[in-house]
Amino acid sequence: MNNIGVKTSADKSIFTDKDHELTMSSKFTAFKIFKTGVVQTDGSGFVEVKHGLGFTPTFSVFRMGSATWQETLTGVDSNTYNNVYFPSLTGHHSWVANQNLVETSTSINSLYIESGGANIYYKYYIFYDLGQFFSDVPGSNLGNQGLKVSFNNKNVLTSGDYNMGFTSKYKILQFNKFKSGQTQMTLPALKGSQFSDPTPQEATYLDIFHGMGYPPFFLAFNIDPSYSSTIWREIPDNGDSAVGVVDKVSSWCDATRIRISWWRKTSYATGVSHNATTITIKWLIFDEDLRL
């Protein structure tokens, strides 16, 4: 990085750190929390949160509720976990019934949550970061209190806050480097038998006991060598879902753990089988408390 702007480092020299080793650099935008809270869907399973930003922002939503194993495969986990948070809940999920899946979206005015279930609680984050074409954004100077550093070629006095690499006006989403990590899960080969078990399933799960004492905002990714040995995909991941052949990586968290499960199914009729596979899971735990 050139010596313009502000950068910080946690335990190394800012003069020698590479950009990705810095804890913050005003050269790069960070997700800035504009608004956060908990809302409940109405009787039709819908709720709207007005943000008034005048542009379409990025966001994140966690569904709140209970986690119970939903697949027909037995012997995985018969428990129900309460006070659980599910991230990015679209597509089939191994711990929540399909009718409770959610579509979340934002417009220039509001965040919308549409769920198959009524009276369900959601924790939402609306970021002061753009989710629309960047030249379309109405510029607005939102005040000169605190500390802010703009991007190159952007006037810090007149640019909108989305053009700030750093601003003290909003809480920055920061992750806990020491709590984040990776591990692997393995499932054996699976092939349908014509008569006795034409649609077999298999599953396992990983519990990360995070020790945060509260349910934390988290991100998780997986790499599946049966799909690609170089490509990471965000969890929840519905993988390759040819008819009758399904591969799902699902996740949720509570005050004790982050659980990531992996479930696969195949069908004799398709002639497709799963090879024995080991996937790698990486997770980032943020200090953000989902309860607040």
Partner: protein
């Protein structure tokens, strides 16, 4: 059970029931001798057989009480022919199974292990993958009017199930791991707190920023209109796998990705060490944030 290779009876000429005078059924017990044949056994010569089970589907049974006692042999031939004529005199394997049956309800199944018989046939020098193999069921002093019968025609009829290796557990033991302890708070660097909260004693929740904790730093962000099923978002060439996130916008609403169901479209983003790509079932705008932060923590 999963991973089993299974073969059904595909032709009535692959069944023989001495009590019925020939083809069309197989019977175990009460004075009957039977034979059954399975075609196109796609197992290479000499392959080790972990288990083979003959799964008798009961279509009818005798009214007597007691036990149907039989002995089950393999037909010791390289590629046994169909039962256009009486097959009961064909050579038999030395291996046999004592198959004593208390007849169950109609529609249920009674299994008979024939691993040694199948192994003996597969081991024959003249065996070739795709050949047919068969079994002879000899009555062995069954109780009067105690028998079970499978009439050819249902799917499946009595079928043969083979495993070439032991099945693993399909619900492996879950893994658990503890995160490392939190780092000790230090009093250097930069931090600022929520308005009206003292930065000196603010809780973690009220700290808006701390230079001691990493921030996701977006190096590449922008929009790409999907015109094909897969599109390159950015060739980042970072040389490592970056953290990323993205959104899809078919019209005026922006949806968080990955999105695997629901209205409008299915879409997700993926990234490797040089490129981030998007996949979508529809023409939409993808808004992406590729962070400079390395997934290899």
């Amino acid at each position: 059970m999963a991973n089993e290779l299974e073969w059904d009876i595909v032709n009535y000429l692959d069944t023989w029931d001495s009590s019925a005078g020939g083809n069309g059924s197989i019977k175990a017990g009460d004075g009957a001798d039977s034979a059954v044949r399975y075609r196109n056994i796609t197992i290479a010569q000499g392959t080790s057989i972990y288990s083979a089970v003959f799964k008798f589907i009961v279509d009818a049974k005798g009214a007597g009480s007691g036990t149907a006692r039989t002995l089950v042999y393999g037909i010791n031939e390289d590629n046994t022919a169909d039962f256009g004529g009486d097959p009961l005199g064909r050579p038999k394997t030395s291996a046999s199974t004592t198959y004593n049956i208390t007849p169950p309800a109609i529609g249920e199944r009674v299994d008979c292990t024939v691993t040694s018989q199948v192994q003996a046939i597969i081991n024959r020098a003249g065996w070739v993958s795709g050949n047919a193999l068969g079994f002879i069921i000899n009555n062995n002093s069954s109780d009067a009017n105690v028998w079970i019968k499978d009439n050819f025609g249902a799917v499946p009829d009595t079928y043969l199930s083979i495993l070439l290796s032991a099945n693993p557990t399909f619900t492996p033991t879950p893994i658990s791991t503890d995160s490392k302890p939190k780092s000790v708070k230090v009093s250097y660097g930069i931090k600022y707190s929520k308005p009206h909260k003292s930065v000196l004693n603010a809780t973690e929740a009220d700290i808006y920023f701390s230079s001691g904790k990493p921030t996701l730093k977006a190096k590449f962000f922008g929009m790409r209109t999907m015109t094909n099923e897969t599109a390159s978002l950015v060739v980042h060439q970072l040389g490592y796998n970056p953290i990323y996130t993205g959104y899809g916008k078919p019209s005026t609403l922006l949806y968080k990705l990955p999105k695997f169901s629901g209205s409008f479209f299915v879409s997700y983003i993926e990234a490797d060490k040089s490129e981030a790509r998007a996949y979508s079932t529809n023409v939409i705008n993808i808004f992406y944030y590729i962070f400079i932060d390395d997934l290899n923590l």
